[in-house]
Symmetry: C2
Subunit: 221 residues, 2 copies
């Protein structure tokens, strides 16, 4: 008999993280323990452990006697997160160039081509999925697992922002161009060029976001 054990604190933390990524929980919203218990089936103890984890990750803010709430990033914090991410993914691009297998490099190119074909399409979800695949492939092929986990943690608070940008056609076209430059550098075996191109690519995303921010303010309540 498989007795259904309740979820572990790690699984509960993953669940909350997923809710935040899907925008079912928005910045500033309070996380009431009872609600999480009802929705995940976990015990109160495990829920509180999970919230401590998320607080350590910087994703939620736990205040004494006032509970947890989803942290909301200022534009300056977003800027720093993007710069950090650009630097880390740049390292991965260089390592990918030097260490990835031929098959992985071919797949990188294949995904980039799929994205090119997808630019005109109406579904940003598809594009976003391919984009995630592409970036993950680089970090995996580089063998930089520690850096990958850091990047994923950095990304969670700004995940929805990244997704927002994919609703704009111009951003899609720019991203595809950036990817082409990076793939070419990788294929040519030029690690330094791949690194700086990847870094520029991420910073381009930040610039695009900054311009959006000037017209529509994300950070407001």
């Amino acid at each position: 008999m498989l007795e259904k054990k309740g979820p572990s604190s790690v699984e509960i933390a993953d669940w909350v993280r997923g809710q935040i990524r899907r925008r079912r929980l928005v910045p500033g919203q309070r996380l009431v323990e009872i609600d999480i218990i009802r929705q995940t089936g976990g015990s109160r103890f495990k829920v509180r452990e999970a919230l401590q984890r998320l607080d350590a990750e910087g994703l939620v803010d736990v205040e004494e006697f006032r509970g947890a709430s989803v942290r909301n990033a200022t534009m300056e914090e977003v800027r720093q997160l993007y710069h950090a991410r650009g630097a880390m993914e740049g390292i991965c691009a260089a390592d990918f160039t030097a260490r990835a297998s031929a098959a992985q490099k071919a797949e990188l190119n294949a995904i980039a081509e799929q994205m090119e074909a997808c630019v005109a399409g109406p579904a940003p979800e598809q594009f976003s999925r391919l984009n995630a695949q592409w970036h993950n492939l680089i970090m995996d092929g580089a063998g930089d697992h520690v850096i990958k986990s850091i990047v994923q943690r950095l990304n969670t608070p700004i995940h929805h922002l990244v997704f927002e940008t994919f609703y704009r056609g111009e951003r899609l076209r720019a991203a595809v161009q950036d990817h082409r430059v990076i793939v070419d550098a990788v294929m040519a075996g030029d690690a330094k060029a791949a690194e700086s191109a990847m870094r520029a690519h991420v910073i381009n995303g930040l610039d695009f976001l900054s311009r959006l921010d000037e017209s529509v303010h994300f950070g407001e309540d």
Copy 2:
């Protein structure tokens, strides 16, 4: 009346982190809840919350029914942590060049000069303290608080390794030279040069460590 409350989970986590940094707790060592309760005065609940936090930070490893133990970094993990740190501190060096006040830049130079005078001295602790001050000043002056907190988290598992290197005179001399190059770039207002010099400086530390690792193996039990 100030009733002395027990330490919070954050304070307990800080205590454990400090013990690990001071090498009173070494990699692989098991962290028994009872012992931490006795030494910190915290309740079991808070101790467990603290251990979850540290697990989320990647500093300890919590296994089901087997408790927490200090995580033991492989040389490959150390390599990635150094590369990540180099990239992040590089960003800070560039931002420092662009954004720091004249007073902060003068202080940066002053600390560098103190370190130069300290090279011949017998106390690596003094040098290590100045080094930490110098690196913190750059991150503070750059205004990159988010990046600073990431760097500090990355550093904890390798803190003792960084300290080890300061026992060797040749490393001290090399570090002082690197610092001079960085300070000069900052003073000249050349952000790009400051960034690449800072990055090279951190990677130099890694190289030194790698050479040490070939003769003396740190990672063994």
